[in-house]
């Protein structure tokens, strides 16, 4: 039984078919990667699945329920969360507050309780702060908790976004290039983190350019080119697929083959 099912999803931008007829599915605890050359429509696909863009065609089914065109904040309530390729950090907040903000659905309550700082409101804040500290430790940012988020390195901010998304206790997590701009050590840390989260039963949909990472951790790979799915399958099969190699060409094609070898 698949947790997330994508069926014939498509969108056009000014007459241009940005994404067309893309479909695949995600089982609980599975890691599925979407790969493809730049401009293949990976982020656009993510934006449609996460409710940021309204798709023109197709369906997104989450746990048997049609969630196509449902706004992101309601998808969050259904357990779908994401990170962003171009970081979307709450810059004026501390690292801790960013992670606490991820607990919104668990900590929200009456505005009156918040205004008067009633015990109920303080309890909610305390609970999400405790959980946020645990999450920050988990992504290796425990010691940076009190810093201003804007002062962190790019790689650290990527991990902060993951912590914030995990705060939701999601069932499906969409990660848009989590290892971009990270060094080899950081990439490996993120790699382990993703594997661990998936092992806890969270389904992960990943867009990533680091082919070694993709080949290592994915259960299943979907390849996009010019907005269409050109291949799908296990990492080993994908790296031998002639259409995939053709789409990537040159340096990247050898990279795919090397990662397999």
């Amino acid at each position: 039984m698949s947790l997330l099912q994508i069926e014939g999803l498509g969108i056009d931008f000014g007459g241009l078919r940005a994404v067309h007829d893309v479909g695949f599915s995600l089982k609980p605890g599975e890691i599925v990667s979407v790969i493809g050359p730049n401009g293949a429509g990976k982020t656009t696909l993510f934006n449609m699945i996460s409710g940021v863009y309204a798709p023109a065609r197709g369906r997104v089914v989450l746990d048997g329920e049609d969630v196509t065109r449902i706004p992101p904040h309601l998808l969050a309530r259904r357990g779908l969360s994401r990170t962003f390729q171009n970081l979307q950090i709450f810059q004026s907040m501390s690292v801790l507050e960013n992670a606490v903000a991820g607990h919104h659905l668990h900590e929200r309550g009456s505005v009156f309780a918040d205004l008067f700082s009633l015990p109920a409101a303080r309890r909610r804040s305390k609970a999400s702060e405790d959980s946020a500290r645990t999450l920050l430790d988990r992504v290796g940012l425990g010691r940076a908790a009190e810093q201003e988020a804007g002062s962190l390195s790019y790689g650290a901010l990527k991990r902060l976004e993951i912590a914030r998304a995990l705060a939701l206790k999601p069932r499906v997590l969409l990660l848009d290039e989590p290892a971009a701009g990270c060094n080899a050590v950081e990439t490996e840390e993120i790699d382990h983190l993703i594997a661990k989260v998936a092992a806890e039963g969270v389904s992960i949909l990943l867009v990533e350019h680091d082919m070694k990472m993709v080949m290592r951790i994915s259960n299943h790979i979907v390849v996009l080119d010019h907005g269409e799915k050109i291949a799908e399958g296990e990492p080993a099969a994908i790296s031998r697929n002639p259409r995939v190699i053709e789409a990537y060409l040159g340096a990247q094609a050898t990279e795919v083959q090397n990662a397999d070898g």
Binding site: S50, V52, A101, H104, A113, A121
Partner: protein, 318 residues
């Protein structure tokens, strides 16, 4: 033990309000002080809207007008006590903010500014034109709050200016306390999150439209109570309270002092309330100097006076 930023802010505010009268050479200064507090209250509301949620309104004087005229009209026509009239004004402002906010908060940036501006103008037009009810541009009398007589009966004898200094100072401290509570609460975090990144706020489950409306309604209530206090202490009110200039003044105070900080915004209110009096030494160049000061602050201290100064001091300490 290190004091929290909330406790520090409240302590500073309460101490300044309590100690300042020691240095007042005449009762006139109590009057200036209470005007600062009344403006400070409206501006604290704008901190929630502008500083927390990142939304703009150029029409908040409209809500001050509703609060002010509620105190003038409800005692006469509904037989309500002026204090209850102020509460009614606040409820009415909240209801109107809810109705107006829903459609206009979908707009962003200057579109929102212009739409809110339109709302403010609408309210002041109604107040000017419904002359049978409001006395039109000539204004109308507002009944006595009556609290001073009650205090006198229990042995606290304050002059009129002293009473309004103390009373509006107290309301301002309460208003600041509520705003600071909100800042550190789940609601405050949701507001600041949508300020930082709307799309990221949505993906963590924040209902952006709802929370913008929450900030708009709360700030409208602040403006309304501020208008009520102004009407009650002046015992007279004109449609100017809802006017365009008053809206602009409020936003300028907040931004000049530092829209992200409650204390900063109140400082902005203090400066812009007193500066015109101080600048009278420049005689006919008064307005010119006022404009110049405002431009210089914004050019050199973009975050507003208090946050910029605080950052500079912190930078030197490190």
């Amino acid at each position: 033990m290190r004091l929290s930023s909330k406790a520090t802010t409240l302590l500073i505010l309460a101490a300044v309000i309590a100690i300042a009268p020691v240095f007042f050479p005449s009762s006139y200064y109590f009057r200036v002080g209470s005007l600062i507090f009344v403006n400070g209250l409206a501006v604290t509301g704008l901190v929630i809207l502008i500083g927390y949620a990142g939304q703009i309104s150029l029409g908040h004087a409209g809500f001050a007008g509703i609060g002010a005229y509620a105190c003038a009209l409800a005692p006469v026509h509904l037989g309500l006590h002026p204090a209850l009239a102020a509460v009614l004004g606040a409820l009415l402002s909240a209801a109107i903010a809810f109705l107006v906010g829903r459609p206009i908060l979908r707009l962003k940036g200057y579109y929102l500014a212009v739409a809110s501006l339109g709302f403010g103008i609408l309210v002041s037009m109604v107040l000017s034109n419904e002359a049978q009810l409001t006395g039109g541009p000539d204004g109308m009398a507002v009944p006595e709050l009556g609290l001073r007589a009650v205090l006198k009966a229990i042995g606290i004898d304050l002059s009129n200016t002293e009473f309004w200094y103390a009373f509006s100072g107290l309301v301002l401290v309460i208003g600041a306390w509520l705003a600071l509570n909100l800042y550190h609460s789940p609601t405050g975090r949701a507001l600041r999150a949508l300020h930082g990144s709307e799309v990221a706020a949505r993906t963590v489950g924040v209902d952006v439209a709802h929370y913008k409306l929450v900030a708009f309604v709360i700030s409208a209530v602040y403006a309304s109570v501020s208008g009520s206090l102004l009407a009650l202490q002046n015992k007279f009110i004109t449609p100017d309270v809802a006017g365009f200039m008053h809206s602009i003044e409020m936003v300028t105070m907040a931004v000049l002092g530092g829209a992200g900080s409650v204390l900063g915004a109140i400082l902005g209110a203090a400066i812009l309330t007193t500066l015109p009096q101080v600048l009278t030494v420049f005689q006919q160049y008064e307005q010119l100097m006022l404009g110049l000061v405002m431009m210089l602050v914004m050019i050199f201290m973009r975050a507003g006076l208090l946050p910029s100064i605080a950052r500079r001091i912190r930078g030197r300490a490190e």
